[in-house]
Every structure is written in structure tokens, then in C-alpha cells.
Symmetry: C2
Subunit: 319 residues, 2 copies
């Protein structure tokens, strides 16, 4: 994680003069989130994040993300909406990139979540989903089953360079999911990437949910499955923690009761979630130079999760 | 610039519990300074920078840097001293690296300094030098004339890969400086790297001088020469600005009057300063992969400065 685009203090101060946010007194490039350039700004009134969207975020998706954040913020959810300038504009252009000034949220991302934090994360996701029941906009999930097929195809034989046999495992899993992926579960806008990195907490309470740049419309319970895969294992995919798992599901269910059909589908959804991160990490692994700007994340950490979910019975999710 | 070492929020909170600085509420990795890892911390009381020293800063030099900062802060200079923990300790070990908790200073580094800012920078450097007259500790400058010879030797013929003829230019300049480098000028502790990046300002007034990790004992007026080379040209070394130059020298001279000998030596010191950054940038250029973490800085931007100082008469500095 790094700052990809340098922006001068003068340019930032000039940008802020479009807003009613006070005068700039400090600006630091920060290492945060997906491949965007982020600056932590302090004015004489408040703190903000300035985000310049790099190649990974498509400018045409920005209105969806911003409307989603506004919708959630209006319902009291701890998300950081983009600030509008004096003319009502949220999206600016800075150094040829789309850019937004975003509300700063306090809090710390847990490095290794505990049980109480997992319960809070589950509850926060449940409240988020509850608040999204009436959100009307749609954005297809490009990283769902057809997207996984495409990624697997683009990786091709190179998957076996990561680990011998990985190509076959992926092909088998895709075939299984083609047959078993649930069709009739409730859909809604989802976060789709709720790793601990994207949750801010103070005293085990959620103070911020950030980085909505994979948000899309998909099976609602799939969001819980992604969150489960992200919160209930050690980083390397080993060390499944049954307490964190139970707490996460219970926290969610209290805020957004799971239907029987959703609960039954969770093992398959979690296999899909594991495959999604296995494939995107594999693609990044194969296409990132050893010495590049971004730390490559180990794809096999999600192969281990996939194997865990394959072996685990459906009782894992309390069904 | 990037964060080289990841530190979890839990580890940072644990570290802060050694200090009387309040409770951690936010921690963001920031892109700042030389090759260290830096985190901007907010507690319920104040803001701090946590620095982990990576390979470029030798742990054995840290006591010199910290004593220098304490000395300057005690004399009201706008520098960020390291905070001592409850036992009086300033240097900690975090993730196997020496680390310091440092006072946060507000202010913005000018992207392209104006004349008023150049005058302020000169004055701030003069006050810094004034405050260092009674600083007793010594640290040899490894990047002075003998160090430049060594760097030139290590770069070898590869200099001509950067620009045909560069090796000869460097050799000629080294021979000239061997003969003409002043021997009898006043020495003191100096910053030695006072680029606009390392100066924080609000309303053209200096609020912070940072990044003392090249500080050393050397010819005092050489520090002014470095600052002149850093502030009075466009980034690419073209576009010398006579107004900024005059303002910088005048600002300095008001606070720390230049002797005739210093003023006369400035053209040679400025040639040395240009050669120093030409050589360190050339070395980094030749030894940094194209796609690496750090943005390579163009060495020829300092060849242009060197050529300018060679051609300019001594009247440039008002002698």
C-alpha cells in the first residue's frame, strides 16, 4: 500500500477552498485501502481523507458508491460519506484522477480480531444490511461466479506455478459451485470485502466501516460468508476459531435474522467467498513483480479456507 | 515513499501504554521522509508520529539525532523531539526495529516555494544554526568530499549509462573540489538535507523543520548551500529563481550573519552540494529497480544545478 499520485499542498489547499471545511493545516499521504492514493487532511476545523481513485476503481462506479455511503450515513451507519462542495459536487478531478473529500472516522482496525470484536463486526454487518433493505441502486458483482470463471481462465496453467494441482482444484470447485450456487436467496447491496482492515473499532465497538469500492448487488448472505472467511481464521487460513465464528454469526443474526435457506446456503457461499479471494490473489500474485509497490498476498491462505469449508459440515453455521 | 514495516494497532496501543500520552484512537501508516516506516497516531490527547527506523538510519546514530532535536526544542526551535516514556527512554524496539514516538507538528511543505517562503526557510535555517552554536556532539558527515569520491568510484562507468559523459564531469568536479574545498570555515551541527519536503509552513511561516536523519557536523555554510540548491530551482534543476535566492540568503543572514569568507565560499559549497545529490541520486538510480517501492529521483536535476553554479559568478551570493 502506498501513495501512487503525489499532490502538492498548494493543490490540496486550492481544492479545499471549494468546500466549507476550514483551512488546511496538515496533509499526509497515507497507506490505506485498495489501490487508491489517500491523504489524511487536517483543517482548523476537522479531519478528512482525500482519495484519488487510481486504475482499480472505475470512475463510472463512483456515483453508486457515493450514493450508497450517503444512504447509510443518513441512517446512522458508521460509514464515511463524501463531502459535497459549495455547489453540491462530491466528485472532483485532481491530477487527472477522480477524487473525493471524505469524512474521517476514528478507530483502529483489529490486527487479530478477538471474539467480542467478531461479534461487533457481525452486528455491524447486520445493521448495514438492515439499512440497505430500501436502497434502490444496482451494481452487478463482477467478482461473482461468472467473474471467477473468467479469472480462472486468465490465470490458466499458471495456477499450478503457485501450487501444483491448484488449477484442478479451482476447476473442480467451479464445477461444484455452477451446480450448487443458490439462486433464490435475498439480494441487496453488499460491502463484499469486509476484512478487519476495513473495520475501525474502539473498545471492541465498531466506529467505522470503510473501503466500499467492491460494494455491489449480490446475495446478501454472501456478504456474511465473505466476512466469515475474513474474520474467523488466522491470516494464513489455518487456525479456524470456532468462538469468533459463532460470535460473528450470532451478532449478525441478532440484527438481521438469517432465514433457514440463508443459513443452509452459508457453507456453499463461504466456499464461493474463499474461491473469490483465492482467484483474485492468484491473479495479483502472477501479475505483480516480486519487488513491486504492493505486498503480494498469499493465495493459498484462501485455498486453506476453501478446504476447511469443504470439510466442515453445515452445522458450522448453526443450521 | 511507503510503509515498509506493518505494525498492528494492538502493538501500537501496547507501545503507547509505556508513555503518558493518552489512549490510541487512530493510527495510519504515512508516506514521509527517507526510508523509514512512519505512522500518524491520534490519542485522546494529542497527535504523534511513530517512526520505525529502516536500514537507511543506523541505530547507533539515533542518540545523536535525538540529542540534537532535544537541544533545538529546548531553545524554542520548531523541531519534533522524541517523547520519553515513563522510564525516560526515547528509543524503543518495535518489530525488531529501533523506534521513536515523535511530537507531531502541523504545517504543509511547499510544493513550489515562493519568495516569502524562501525567506522564511533561510531565516529558520539561520535560527537553527544560531541555536546550535553550543551543541557539543559530533557526527562526521559521511556524505562530504571523501564520501563523494567513494560514491563516484562505486558508481564507476555506470554513470555514463545515466548520461554520456557524466563520469568525466563528476571526475573533473571532484578534482576541482579537492583543490578548492574550503578548510577554515566555521563548523557546527547542520541539517544537511533542508529540502522543501522537510519544512512545514502555515501562511509562509515555518512551523516545522523535520527529518534530521542526515544531520552531522560539517561546514555551517554548506548547510545554506544545500538549502539554496534545494529551494531556488525548479525540481528539474532548470528555472533558477533569483528572487528566491536573494530572499533565502537575506533571511539566513539576518539570523546568522555570514562572514566574508563564508559568502565567498558559497559558490564552491553549492557546487559540492549539487555534486552530493547528483551522486546519491545516481547511486539510487542505478540500484533501484524500475518498478520498486521508491520513486527514483532524476540525478541530472542536480547536474543542471552544478552547471548553473559553475557558470554563475560569485555575485550570485552577494559577495
Amino acid at each position: 500500500m502506498a501513495v501512487y499520485t503525489q499532490v502538492s499542498a498548494e493543490r490540496i489547499a486550492e481544492l479545499l477552498s471549494r468546500y466549507n471545511v476550514g483551512t488546511l493545516v496538515s496533509a499526509k499521504g497515507i497507506a490505506e485501502g485498495v489501490e487508491n492514493s489517500n491523504f489524511l487532511l487536517q483543517t482548523d476545523r476537522d479531519r478528512f481523507i482525500l482519495t484519488l481513485y487510481e486504475k482499480r476503481v472505475d470512475a463510472k462506479d463512483l456515483p453508486f458508491f457515493l450514493k450508497l455511503l450517503d444512504h447509510l450515513a443518513a441512517r446512522g451507519q458508521p460509514v464515511p460519506p463524501a463531502v459535497a462542495d459549495r455547489t453540491g459536487q462530491q466528485i472532483q478531478v485532481v491530477n487527472d484522477r477522480s477524487a473525493c473529500l471524505i469524512v474521517f472516522l476514528p478507530g483502529l482496525s483489529p490486527g487479530q480480531p478477538n471474539t467480542a470484536q467478531s461479534r461487533s463486526a457481525g452486528a455491524a454487518l447486520g445493521k448495514l444490511h438492515q439499512s440497505l433493505v430500501d436502497f434502490p441502486d444496482l451494481r452487478p458483482n463482477t467478482l461473482s461466479l461468472p467473474g471467477w470463471h473468467e479469472l480462472a481462465q486468465r490465470c490458466g496453467n499458471a495456477l499450478d506455478e503457485i501450487m501444483p494441482g491448484l488449477g484442478d482444484t479451482v476447476a473442480e470447485e467451479l464445477a461444484f459451485l455452477d451446480t450448487n450456487w443458490p439462486a433464490d436467496l435475498p439480494h441487496s447491496a453488499i460491502h463484499a470485502d469486509l476484512f478487519p482492515d476495513n473495520v475501525l473499532m474502539l473498545d471492541d465497538q465498531v466506529t467505522g466501516i470503510i473501503d466500499f469500492y467492491f460494494a455491489c448487488t449480490d446475495i446478501r448472505a454472501y456478504d456474511l460468508a465473505v466476512t466469515h472467511a475474513a474474520w474467523c481464521f488466522d491470516d494464513d487460513g489455518a487456525g479456524f476459531d470456532a468462538d469468533r465464528s459463532a460470535a460473528l454469526i450470532a451478532g449478525y443474526d441478532e440484527q438481521m435474522p438469517l432465514t433457514d435457506a440463508e443459513r443452509e446456503a452459508l457453507p456453499i457461499l463461504a466456499r464461493g467467498a474463499s474461491l473469490r479471494f483465492l482467484l483474485t490473489r492468484a491473479w495479483d500474485w502472477l501479475n505483480t513483480p516480486d519487488d513491486a509497490l504492493v505486498t503480494r498476498k498469499d493465495p493459498t491462505a484462501f485455498l486453506r479456507r476453501l478446504e476447511f469449508y469443504r470439510a466442515a459440515g453445515s452445522e458450522l453455521f448453526g443450521s
